[in-house]
Each structure stands twice: as structure tokens, then as C-alpha cells.
Amino acid sequence: ALAQRLDDALSRVRGRGRLDDETVDATLSEIRLALLEADVNFKVVRGFVSRLREVLVGEEVSKALNPSQQVVKAVHAELVRALGGESVTPDLSGNPAVIMLAGLQGSGKTTAAGKLAKQLKKKGRTPMLVACDLQRPAAVQQLRINAEKVGVHVYAPVESGDPVAVARDSLAKARDTGCDVVIVDTAGRLHIDTELMGQARDIRAAVDPTATLFVIDAMIGQEAVNVSKAFLDDVGFDGVILTKLDGDARGGAALSVREVTDRPIVYASVGEKMEDFEAFHPDRMADRILG
């Protein structure tokens, strides 16, 4: 774990005085490696480590903790702060409130749509799932089955054609069926696919979502920065869903995405079943990233 790795760098530090420059450098070098191994983007690591330097230089050595524990505590605190500090509850008021999901292929959007619907239903809302992935084979059927599993309405008028039209028509459909929150599932797309990024932008413009949520896989590597920046700039989003956190990926992408987009990670998907969905906790994520 990180504390053990820091023991060498901090071996000459005794229980008083301040951390000198040389000790801080050796310590930061070890922290940099740990963060890179956790898949934090290397530029994000650079920025984060330079902020850490300010925190650690001149940090008074605690008498209560051993030096490694003290440094880990300081790093953990800085990481929690960078991840947003505490869980957020998104404002999903509106009738109908509209939530749009977007992200790379296979990130977990269609599954998340069902989970979000289940959670909102539990809170007394009447969700409607909307099938705007008209591209992937059996995507509409997958969403239909999820809707059935969680017991919510689904609007899936077509299996091919224009998803923008389906999205637009879903709002009236929601009102007609008494649904007060619309969840729009979209096709996975590459952030470098100009046409499909344009389509996502058009879907967003057509329904003016209360919240657009960017869905990203916790095991993603260095490109998390470029992907999330592109989705922010070319489509726009308000929050993030981090998926497959029931795996053992360290999940450094969480820090990368937050640093680069300044958008909160709102939800954590922690399994394949419809109930495997919870609020994102920055402190738990910090533990995980630091290993």
C-alpha cells in the first residue's frame, strides 16, 4: 500500500520539525508512480503532484502519526477534495425532468438507464425509458427488457431511423402517460466521430435535459482526459456516472475526469443488476485510487 512505499522516502524523518525539500521530492516521486499505476492521466498527475508539493513542503511532522501515515492522510484529503469532497444529489426536478445518457461504446449506458429508473421509481417518480440507440443490434430490445425488469414505461417506437425525432417525441409521450421523468438512452459513440458527436449534440438540443450524464467505465486508461473533454466540449454534460466499480480497477479516471471537466461524479454503478447503483462517494474513491 502507499504508506509502505513511502517508508523509504521518509526513513530519515523523525517526529519533529518540517519535511525538507529533498524528502518531499522523494515522497512525491513515489506518489506520482502510485497515481500513474492507478490510471490517473499523466498530465493530471503532474498538476495534482505540484499541488501536493505546496501542501507537503513545510508540513510540520506530526508526533501522533508516523511520517508515511501523515503523508498518506494529506494525499487522501487532497484527493477527496479534488473528487468533489462529498456525495452530491442531483437536482432532477421538473415535469417531466429529462435525463440524457451519453458515452463511449460499452460503458454501461443502457444498464444505467434501467438502474436510474429503478432508483427514481423507488423515490416516488414515474420514469419513462426512451430508446434512442437505433444503431446497435438489439439495443432497443435490451432497454425494453430493462424497463420491464424495473417496472417502468418505455418509449421505443422504432428500431432504426432518427434518434433525435424519437427523443423529441418522447416528451409528449411522457406527458400523455403521466411520466414525470424521461431517461434517454443513446448509442455508444467515439469522441472523435464528428458525425455522431453532432447527433448527440442534436439529441441534447431537442430535449433540453435537466441533466446530461456522461457514462464512463472505471477501467479506462490514459485517454479518459481526451474522451471526457471532448464529450464536455462537443456535447456538454452536467454530471458523470462511473461504472463497473465492482471490478478491481483502481479507477484513476475518476480524478482525471473531474480535474479536466470540473463536473461531479454523481453515481457509481457497482454491478450488473438493476439494484447495483449508488451515490458516488469521493472518500471511498480516494481510498481505492491510492490502493
Binding site: 461504446q105 425488469k149 471490478g247
Partner: protein, 278 residues
Amino acid sequence: ELFGGGVSDDAWEGLEELLISADVGVAATMQIVEDVRRRARDEGVTEADGVVALLKDELRSALEVPDRSLARATDDEPTVWMLTGVNGTGKTTTIGKLAAIEEREGRSVVLAAADTFRAAAADQLGLWADRTGARLVRKDEGADPASVAFDGWMAAIATDADLLVVDTAGRLHNRRELMDELGKVKRVVEKKSGPMDEVLLVLDATTGQNGLAQAGAFVDAVDVTGIVLTKLDGSSKGGIVVAVQRELGLPVKLVGLGEGIDDLAPFDPDAFVDSLFE
């Protein structure tokens, strides 16, 4: 133009960052760069171009393998390939693409929809069967996956098919019971077919260092024979396969280059290494 002239420490660091940004990973990057530094010293390479050439050569040999083709049955019975991997990496789509290639080359294909868990998994594979002329074997959601794979083998035998491809559910490698289930699917088929000709692990090119843990776990569970690296049409370089081959000896056999039926190609290590520097 990374260097300017001669190879400074900054330049070496720049090369490290290039590899790290490609998801090669810290440990593999350090080892590879250290080997290149030593070779550069020994061979008296002092110019930027020379160093990059050495690095490409080092990466290229890390990815070397005598035969990258997919193995096939050498007797009259159907060839058996099984696709495995964590959730959402592109297994089902890859099988569709493989079926297209095989059918076009005149080989008959049976597809076994052994993902009996995820919503519409069998429907998704069924659409690929329709597109390619492959025969689909499926059961209802919740059926025993091994029994679907078994039925696939029996159908392949009964129809004298050239190839059986088994689709499996995505599963996270740290889920013990799911990895055991995968082992059982393999054993049940192999009781009838003998050893499978290929057990492919499908890795998403966007995956970071967790890809190495995935590979290790799937090797332990079902003795993986090769990697399919998907979504290489994105901006991720897929550098994790360097560590996967260095540490586990697993070669990349195929790459996924898109969502369309023709978007599958043999792995080209030269093109792969070149793209790391683009």
C-alpha cells in the same frame, strides 16, 4: 523533434510519457526505456532518430510471435473458438465479424449464445447470425450457459459445420463464481470436442492497467490462447497489450476497428508500434 540534438534526460522522460500515455504502464515503460538506454550506450546511438528506432525495435520484439493466425481443428470435427472477457469489450460484435469472414470464405458457422444472463444478449447475437448466414443456437434468459455451449457443439456436429463460436457473458475477473462458471462452460464443451482451438480474450483498447489483471485471471481460469484488441478505431493506443504479452506471453491475434461487420483485421505489430508515436 522530441530531442533537438543528442538525447537529454528530458528527452528520455518525454519517451517515458509517450509510452505511459499509450497505457503501456509504469513498470513496462521503465523496463523498456532502460533496455533502450543500455542499447543506445552499447551501440553508440546518440541521435534522436536512432533512439526512436531502437525503441520501436524493442516494442516490436516484445510483440513478436511466429504465428498469429487463429488455430483450427486438424480432424474432421468442427473448429471451436470461445470468446471471453469483461463486460462491454466487444465480444458479441467480434463474433459477428468473425462469422462474416468465415461464411464469405465458404465455411459454415454455428454461433452459440452462451450469454444467458444479460438482457437481449441472445437477440443481439441472433441479429449477427441473420446478417452472416451463421446458424444460431440459443435458449431463454437464465438458462445454464454450459448447456447452450453444449447444444452449439451438438448442432455443429449434426450439421457438419466447419466452425462453432461460443459467445459468453461479460464478467469481471474478480468475481470468483463467474470465472468458475466460465471454466465449466469450457469443460462441458471440451468433454465432447476435445481442447478448444482458440480461447480468445477480448480486451478494450481504452482499458488501463486493469487489462493486465484481467488477462492474468482469464488465463488462470480458461487458458487463453490469444487476444482480440477492440475499439482501436478510438484514440486509445491499447498499449496494455505490451505488458500482457511481456508478462503472460499472450499475443494479440485480431484488432477491432469499428462497429461494422467488416471492421476486424489481423493484428499488425508494425502499424501498432508506429501508431504509438503518432
